[in-house]
Amino acid sequence: MSGAMLKNFRGLRALVIMAPDSGRDTLERTLIKLGLEVSISDVPPCLADPPPAFDVVFFDADDGADLGMDSLAMPDLPLIAVIGSEAPSRLARVIRHRAASHILKPVRSSGIFTALLLAMNEHAARARHQQELLALRRRLSGRRVVMKAVVQLITVCGLSEEDAYQWLRREAMERRIPMEDMARHALGEGPEMGPQEKSRIKTGITGGRLDQTDQATVERNE
């Protein structure tokens, strides 16, 4: 599930949202040494249309530089907070932005690579989790239609529950579509299928048992 650790950040485009000070200079210089392309901004470029493309964003959590940052301007980017004040009111914003890692002030060259590495890997892990979440949600919302199709195959075609489920699964694999979509097709709720597919659905079911063609298909899929 977890991929190899990301550790080479050459060519990444970094946006640094900080007021000019020596800490910003150190950050910029170190990021350049790490092979990143660095853009500096005193304020978030949220009004730019389209927003310039970045791969990672550093923002000063102390000076309100993040005020203009919202999910529209920063679509799903790894954020790294540069933190001076540890007052909860400041840190609350770091949490709200879901910063993937942070750098404490005073900014030193040590620690920047670590913060970048943690943020990029944390963000990649979050993206994987998000994908898994979407897939699970889709399957969950499709459970009802799958059950409905299984019940219909049982009552209309006389299949056992197991055979009905396996038939749906196999047909879905054959067509390379999600099982939920296959269930909709079987219920006649899905988008129109070609005549060939329709006939396959008909011929595939023969009085409650699988025919030879389908046996072969099972073997091929497994």
Partner: protein, 362 residues
């Protein structure tokens, strides 16, 4: 000791130059290898003596320990040791080899000439872990295997079991990052065990490292010969600069044996400092640091250039094979200086793009 001697040599050389604009009055402190000694020593040098430039530190832990003091006092540490990389401080000039100049070329050499089944044995600290990570990833990418990997506390000499296991496994090579006494004992045991098993160690299962130097070979006795080492300097480099360096060394420090990479690196660091100060017209921390960017020096190892961005040095990697007389045969050297790449971001650790540049010498 070798570093101190190398630095002394350069300081005396600089101070003896009649028309020099720079003279160096050194203050020496010996932290005796203790971390607290480094902190106290650095504080004494920077605070009490008000110095802006310090040549020193061997281990990474000592360097990391004193770095905050150099940042606080606006001073520059001239760090003359090869190390595992992953640092670029604006308060350090690194004159030793970075990973792109020691473990990466050694990895290529081992995989190309001996095979991809490796055994790794090391002292249990960062130098071993990080070098082994780089080697392990390259071995895996080449479709080979890490036959075994073991770590021992620094100074451990009870190594008979691991030596027995290595000889039984017969890997294509053994990569060792054991330091100090552990390293000597290990090579002695490995040589004896290989001999007993009828294995021609240098040809069939060489022991390779990124730290074996001329300073250690006399301590290995009969097991000194036949081991591979990756280094930017060997005492056998044939150049006018190295001949001069070796003569100076022999005249003053013959009791320390042959000059080694650590000695040369400290020698280079002092010369870079003197040249940077001359260029800056001042010994001031910031002026010298800016002046050292891009500076070149015709060192005993060849031309060394300080990288303008990361303050590490462009140098030529070399692979040597130790001889019984305490020196190294240079098997391979990079024809041009290799970029110092402390974060390994420019050269992939495994790719062979530089292979065309490497030529066999013997």
């Amino acid at each position: 000791m070798a570093m101190h001697a190398g630095a002394r040599l350069a300081i005396d050389e600089i101070n003896a130059t009649p028309d020099a604009s720079v003279t160096i009055n050194p203050v020496s402190i010996d932290p005796a290898g203790q971390l607290t000694g480094y902190i106290d020593g650095a504080r004494t040098l920077l605070q009490d003596h008000g110095l802006s430039h310090v040549i020193g530190c061997y281990t990474s832990s000592s360097r990391k320990e004193v770095l905050p003091l150099f940042e606080k006092f606006d001073a520059l540490l001239w760090y003359p040791s090869h190390y595992e990389g992953f640092e670029t401080s604006e308060n350090i000039v690194y004159s030793g080899a970075a990973p792109s100049q020691h473990i990466v070329p050694l990895t290529r050499h081992l995989l190309r000439n001996f095979g991809s089944r490796g055994w790794m044995v090391g002292s249990n600290y960062i130098w071993a872990w990080e070098n082994n990570r780089i080697l392990r990833e390259a071995i895996n990418a080449a479709g080979g295997s890490v036959v075994g990997e073991r770590y021992f506390p620094v100074g451990e000499t009870d190594l008979a079991d691991v030596v027995r296991q290595i000889v039984a496994d017969r890997p294509d090579f053994v990569f060792t990052t054991l330091i100090g006494q552990s390293g000597f004992v290990f090579l002695n045991m490995l040589c004896a065990a290989a001999k007993a098993a009828g294995i021609d160690l240098p040809r069939e299962m060489p022991a390779a490292s990124c730290s074996l130097s001329e300073a250690e070979l006399p301590l290995l006795g009969e097991s000194a010969a036949g081991h591979l080492s990756s280094s930017v300097y060997f005492s056998t480099i044939a150049s006018p600069e190295n001949r001069q360096f070796s003569q100076l060394w022999a005249a003053r420090f013959a009791h320390l044996g042959q000059p080694s990479a650590d000695a040369e690196s400290a020698y280079v660091a002092v010369h870079l400092l003197a040249r940077a100060a001359a260029r800056a017209g001042s010994g001031d921390f910031e002026a010298v640091r800016e002046a050292v960017r891009g500076l070149t020096f015709e060192a005993p190892q060849g031309r060394v250039t300080v990288d303008a961005d990361n303050l590490h040095c462009w140098m030529r990697p070399r692979i040597g094979r130790s001889r019984s007389d305490g020196t190294f045969d240079i098997l391979m050297e990079h024809p041009i200086a290799v970029r110092p790449d402390p974060y390994l971001i420019w050269a992939s650790e495994t790719e062979d793009s530089q292979s065309l540049d490497i030529r066999m010498i013997q």
